[in-house]
């Protein structure tokens, strides 16, 4: 049990996928201008990342490893994730239209989200068991959501601040992201 708590804390804070591993920066800057969109994006990522983490683990351990084709990992994962997102989109549209409408445009955007791909690869590299891969995927996604929502709140305030001309918008966002990233380094000693 302790193992899992450590895993969760390390995935959410210590190895935060955005602020410690620097994966998924495009949606991090693209969708953090408004709190509303940030929340939508976070939910979509949590949803897709858990599914993708589990399915890629299965594909890797039950197909690529027995066939000795582990070097095809990258291309196989991309194919699987892209199909998965498409599948989820169709499924939601039919079965849970409300959730589909809620996630809106963010669902298809995740097809090309490197945070999702990165988390799946980390699961494999660290040789997690199936349960661990599931928990880790969920925690990575929560970490992504946490960082994104924190950052969106921050950017809404930056909008009201007097920022020198050359630093406005994305520049100041990058600076702020760097500083948050530094503060996340403080979690390093924890685990």
């Amino acid at each position: 049990m302790d193992e899992y708590i450590v895993l969760i804390v390390s995935c959410i804070f210590v190895n935060n996928i955005l602020l410690a591993q620097f994966l998924g920066n495009c949606p991090f800057f693209g969708t953090s201008k408004k709190m509303e969109t940030a929340v939508g994006m976070s939910m979509a990522v949590i949803f897709v990342l858990v599914l993708a983490g589990v399915i890629t683990w299965v594909v890797y351990n039950f197909m690529l490893v027995p066939l000795n084709l582990t070097y095809l990992r990258t291309i196989a994962f991309i194919l699987v994730i892209a199909s998965l997102v498409q599948f989820v989109e169709m499924f939601l549209k039919k079965s849970i239209p409300a959730l589909y409408a809620g996630l809106g445009i963010f669902l298809p955007l995740i097809t090309t989200n490197c945070a999702v791909f990165g988390a799946c690869v980390i699961n494999i590299d660290k040789e997690y068991s199936f349960m661990k891969a599931l928990v880790a995927s969920f925690s990575f996604a929560v970490g992504f959501g946490l960082a994104l929502i924190l950052f969106a709140g921050l950017r809404e305030r930056i909008l009201l601040a007097r920022v020198p001309g050359p630093l406005q918008d994305t520049s100041i966002a990058l600076v702020a992201a760097g500083i948050i990233s530094l503060t996340f380094f403080a979690f390093r000693g924890m685990v």
Binding site: M63, L72, S83, F87, M90, K94, I105
Partner: protein, 694 residues
Amino acid sequence: MFEAILAMLGLGAACGSILGIASRVFYVYEDPRIAEVESLLSGANCGGCGYTGCSAAAAAAVSGSAPPSVCVVAGFETAMEVGQLLGVDVGSAEPRLSFNECDGGHRAADKYYYIGVNSCKALTAMYGGKRECSIGCLGQGDCVKACSFDAIHMGPDGYPVVDGNKCVGCGACETACPKDILHVQTTSDRLLHFNRDIDALSPCAQTCPAEIDIARYITQIREGDYEGAVQTIRERNPLLLTCGRVCPHPCESYCRRGIEEDPVSINQLKRFVADLEMNSGRRYPIKCAPNTGKRIAVIGGGPAGLSCAFFLRRLGHDVTIFEMMPKLGGMVRYGIPEYRLPKETLQWEIDGILNLGIECITNVKLGEDFDIQSLADARFDAIFLGVGAWKDYSLRVDGEDLKGCFTGIDFLSRFATHQQGDGGTDIPIGRRCAVIGGGNTAIDCVRTLIRLGAEEVSIIYRRTRNEMPANEVEIVAAEEEGVKFAFLAAPVQVIGDENGHVKQLEYLKMELGEPDASGRRRPVPIEGSETLVDIDMLVTAIGQGPDVSFRDKEKDLEALNITRWNTIDADNEETLQSSIPYIFSAGDAFTGASLVIEAIGGGRRAARSIHQYLSGDEIKPVDHSLYKRHIPESLFEQVDGLQNSERAKMPELPVAERIKTFEEVDLVLSEETARKESKRCLNCCRLCYNQDAA
């Protein structure tokens, strides 16, 4: 190698077939037109339209919740194509533009000194902003930052200026503004707007029954933009030539300059631009929304009917006017004499309205030549009832139907019909004429009689000059022209000679008693004060009401409620919908005899309700309505920072000349005088105004 290729092919095939099956299993019917519309849109996924991406916008356009012009980037041609594809009229493709309501800016007083971040949103969080005015522009430029099209810049006076050529009407500025100052509107939206207590309004614009944006058009005159001024007036009032001549301008009583000295001559300025257009030989273009295909019958071609027809036409509906007299204009044509409003001028104005594509059928009377059922058979979708108040009240004394006795409206309209060469016979004019009544109709009668050569004309009124409801200028003009006034006199009987012709009028002298419901002191007769005057012609003009006899001639109209004053009843005086849902009413037929400008305002109000009715919306009054109210904070006790200036004097024909003809008495201001007068306007808003330069 071979294995790898095989594995990838297998994985691909597996994914593909799962997706293929899923697309069957999870198939959701989607209108194929959505994809077609999406292919027409820009594909920029910019979100400028307010939808998440182009596909969402396309879905909204197909479902009808967004207009064909939903895409703010693509422009008019795309809107046309989308409209064609969906088979809908691009009616709603009227261009949307951002309008800034506030031109206070730096002029407005501040509550506190602010050195925080330059954002309106942040500033609003501190006691609603630094301005004393609760609704005014804060001037930090959130709208400028919000605009992706570089169409707004912060003007030198501290409020944003919109560049109409660059604005695409995306609404980003409206969303960004925390003060509700910027409004993205179509022309139709502007025509349908009524004063609200949260608007930036000057006291005069709050007072005007037609809600003309007075401060704006006077500013346009000051800047020399005469066409703009005419357009501003036309957003509220299609009869500017008429009102510029006959309106008693209630607005001027609320003019802020009028608190300290003479008010701005608002109506003269209106007349100045209106005459300028007429004399320029060119009609300024009037924008109409694309056709909606809905048909409305307007019964009564008076000011209310013309106004209602004008605004409905501008909203894109088909309008037909039914008029009982030979020509359009109603009481304005047949009740107001030539010397106050030349018929040629009126005709020019009416022609301009009809030119928009309004049909009219004259010489037909409701209840005689057609009825409501025949209109329903002719497939009209809604009916506007603006039949006016043409029935004179009778004096109810003995002998009032003797030869030589007339009633006011009957006399004026019969005379006007004959004067305009539309048939009828000449009315024999007496030598000694008496007119009973103290309203504008009575004054019109005496001034007409003088011009017709009556030797002695007197007004008999049961109260005093102070209580006369007629316009002050009219009373003065009548006095100048030599009319005699007998005040505190109540007729008791009319005495005829042996031929049945009027010979004498007997009246009782009165004194003023307690104030009555109207606030005027009630006249009380003095016992034994009977007086006789010799007359040979009598006109009674003691008021008039609507003629609702058409109601008795049609069974279906029993459901049409009328009030005890014979006016048409409506559940709500702001929606003007009668007890029969498709019938609307305004003007004198609804209010009882009242001002032209009141009828024009009512006509537009009815047009709004009819438009709601035809669009299938709920018919409801305006939110935050300012109907017949003022914003308390905008009414001042005193006004600081004014320099005395002289009000423009209205040029008029000399008395000796004018009593011989029906030539127009009041003349128009010269351009120089008008410009000078326009500078007297303080361009007021709720709280702030331009102080005079010291």
